[in-house]
């Protein structure tokens, strides 16, 4: 089963247009100006999808699609957005009335989202009546999606308004075979779906190795919670990381593929690491000693991550010494993306989130950005049977 990456670009553009159309519908209905922040298509396991809806209460609609493109869309508003919409469209309404206003808005917006796909496919896409959903995590996620363990493509758009917090997300999870059929005939540049899956799995092993390295170094119990490979327009990469403040390291890697590895800790996590690694009281201002502790950890995590890739790809990948960074995620990404944008329009963004098992207070993002054409080349040459060779002997690393 081959995937044509170029047609994936086309579909990503359709998803962005669709999200813009949904945003325009919302603006018309409520008078609130909204803006598509980021659209990408990710390959992930359905169980990772539920993390889209962790950390808040969401309301929205689920609509099933049929005919030319089977699958489902989930359009969800965060809590503040739901309140703004309900108050705008059903002021003083009962809960039931407010629920139906969300359903109606969600239905109109989803129709706008789907129209572009139908036009592109020159056909109609049947849509089911909307099902209201609310809650967090698995309450929101479609039961059918959560049940399977096969990796799926997910088109994700995040739409925000600058004035009011009326952010919404649209997720479109097409059925795999249906999407591949819609993507059309494949050319020489196509990559097998299996190889993409293997590479994603391999990245997950790399992230698990990096998480183990955190535990070995700091004693903090960590685990990889989310792992996904996204295909993102290059200009959208900084927005995909967001404006949250992070402490971390940036490394450039050379070889096949070349690229960048960015490891970002939120502030409490970076402080926990420094507390564990630096045996004296620190003032939280990221002194030389604290910076070198973060860099040392970054170095070891990178080795674990990159060596796994090199083993499976049978290539030699070296990396530069880590550079300490402390800033907004999007600002950290901008010079990296600037360098990559000279030669590529889209990026493969491999994003793994490491959290602590119990309370989720520890938060680390590992973002790998391999050169797009070099990654395509190594994936062409990848032998799927080498997929299990990601293990790296810690003694080689330390």
């Amino acid at each position: 089963m081959q995937i044509d990456i170029d047609s994936l670009e086309t579909y990503n553009a359709l998803a962005r247009d669709g999200a813009q159309s949904a945003a325009a519908s919302l603006s018309q209905l409520t008078g609130i100006d909204t803006h598509v922040e980021v659209t990408n298509v990710s390959l992930m396991t359905p169980s990772d999808l539920e993390f889209e809806y962790v950390g808040g209460e969401f309301s929205g609609v689920r609509i099933e699609l049929g005919d030319a493109l089977d699958g489902e869309t989930l359009l969800t508003f965060d809590e503040e957005a739901r309140d703004v919409i309900a108050e705008t469209l059903a002021p003083d309404g009962t809960e039931r009335l407010q629920e139906s206003s969300i359903k109606e808005v969600g239905n109109i917006m989803t129709s706008g989202f789907i129209d572009g796909w139908a036009d592109h496919l020159e056909t109609t896409i049947d849509i089911s009546p909307p099902t209201f959903l609310s809650g967090s995590g698995t309450d929101v996620l479609a039961a059918s999606a959560a049940a399977e363990d096969e990796q799926v493509f997910v088109f994700r758009s995040r739409v925000e308004s600058a004035a009011e917090a009326i952010d919404f997300h649209i997720l479109f999870v097409p059925e795999r075979d249906s999407l591949i059929e819609a993507l059309g005939p494949t050319g020489e540049e196509s990559i097998s779906f299996e190889k993409l899956e293997v590479f994603n799995e391999m990245t997950k092993h790399g992230a698990e190795q990096a998480a183990e390295n955190i535990t070995t170094m700091t004693g903090l119990e960590t685990d990889v919670e989310v792992n996904r490979m996204s295909f993102v327009p290059i200009d959208d990469v900084p927005a995909a990381v967001g404006d949250r403040r992070y402490i971390g390291t940036v490394m450039e890697f050379t070889g096949k593929p070349s690229g960048y590895l960015v490891i970002l800790f939120d502030h409490p996590s970076a402080e926990a690491i420094v507390d564990a690694l630096v045996p004296m009281e620190t003032d939280g201002n990221w002194s030389e000693m604290e910076q070198s502790a973060v860099k040392e950890l970054g170095n070891i995590m990178t080795s674990g991550f990159i060596d796994g890739w090199a083993n499976v790809l049978e290539s030699s990948i070296d990396h530069s010494p880590p550079e300490f960074v402390s800033d907004m995620g999007s600002s950290i990404m901008s010079p990296i993306v600037g360098r990559m944008a000279r030669t590529q329009e889209h990026a493969f963004l491999l994003d793994s989130m490491i959290r602590t098992d119990d309370d989720g207070t520890f938060h680390c993002e590992i973002l790998a950005l391999p050169d797009e054409s070099e990654l395509r080349e190594v994936l062409q040459d990848l032998l799927v049977e080498r997929a299990d060779r990601t293990h790296v002997d810690p003694s080689e690393v330390f």
């Binding site: 200009d235 959208d236 800033d327 999007s330 901008s334 010079p335 600037g338």
Partner: protein, 167 residues
């Protein structure tokens, strides 16, 4: 992607601009965040009260062939000026303010950073168009968030080290 915000009150008076994006407005706020090595170029006409903000990532469109003009400092400025004139600005009255161009990540091997080259290209392009730069908050190693009051062209720059400047 141009969005002209005109005569719309209340909730819609703020437009967020992404990377490789721009907007022109006669009232309300134009905002952009996550400015690292990218630039926030503000061009405004104080007499007619129209302002524009573009958020380019790389210095020159030469490096990108047929790519989106908003992504580059030189072509982004040209585009913004065209849109400002279309929105009623007077070319001879245009003034500019520059923000961004930081070296958030020190790559060490580059010689001049992308941020420095972006700043230099903006100065050259604006000079060749005869647009005076009346305010700057550029360089350094911090990310920035920028707000532009569209009516007056007043720019507020918030750096991630806590320093806030009004231009």
């Amino acid at each position: 992607m141009a969005r002209l915000v005109e005569g719309r009150a209340g909730l819609t008076d703020r437009v967020k601009i992404s990377i490789a994006d721009y907007a022109v407005a006669t009232e309300g706020l134009l905002t952009t965040s996550g400015l690292g090595s990218c630039l926030g170029v503000v061009i405004f006409d104080p007499n007619t009260g129209v302002s524009g903000l573009v958020h380019p990532m790389l210095p020159s469109q030469d490096e990108g062939g047929s790519r989106p003009p908003e992504r580059f400092v030189d072509s982004g400025i040209d585009l913004l000026v065209d849109e400002l004139l279309a929105a009623g600005a007077d070319k001879s009255a245009l003034r500019a303010k520059l923000t961004g161009g930081a070296a958030v990540v020190d790559f060490g091997t580059d010689g001049e950073s992308i941020g420095d080259r972006n700043i230099a290209t903006a100065r050259e392009t604006l000079s060749s168009l005869g647009i005076e730069i009346v305010g700057e908050e550029v360089g350094g190693d911090c990310g920035r968030t920028v707000h532009v009051d569209a009516e007056t062209g007043t720019v507020t720059v918030k750096r991630t080290d806590g320093v806030e400047t009004e231009l």
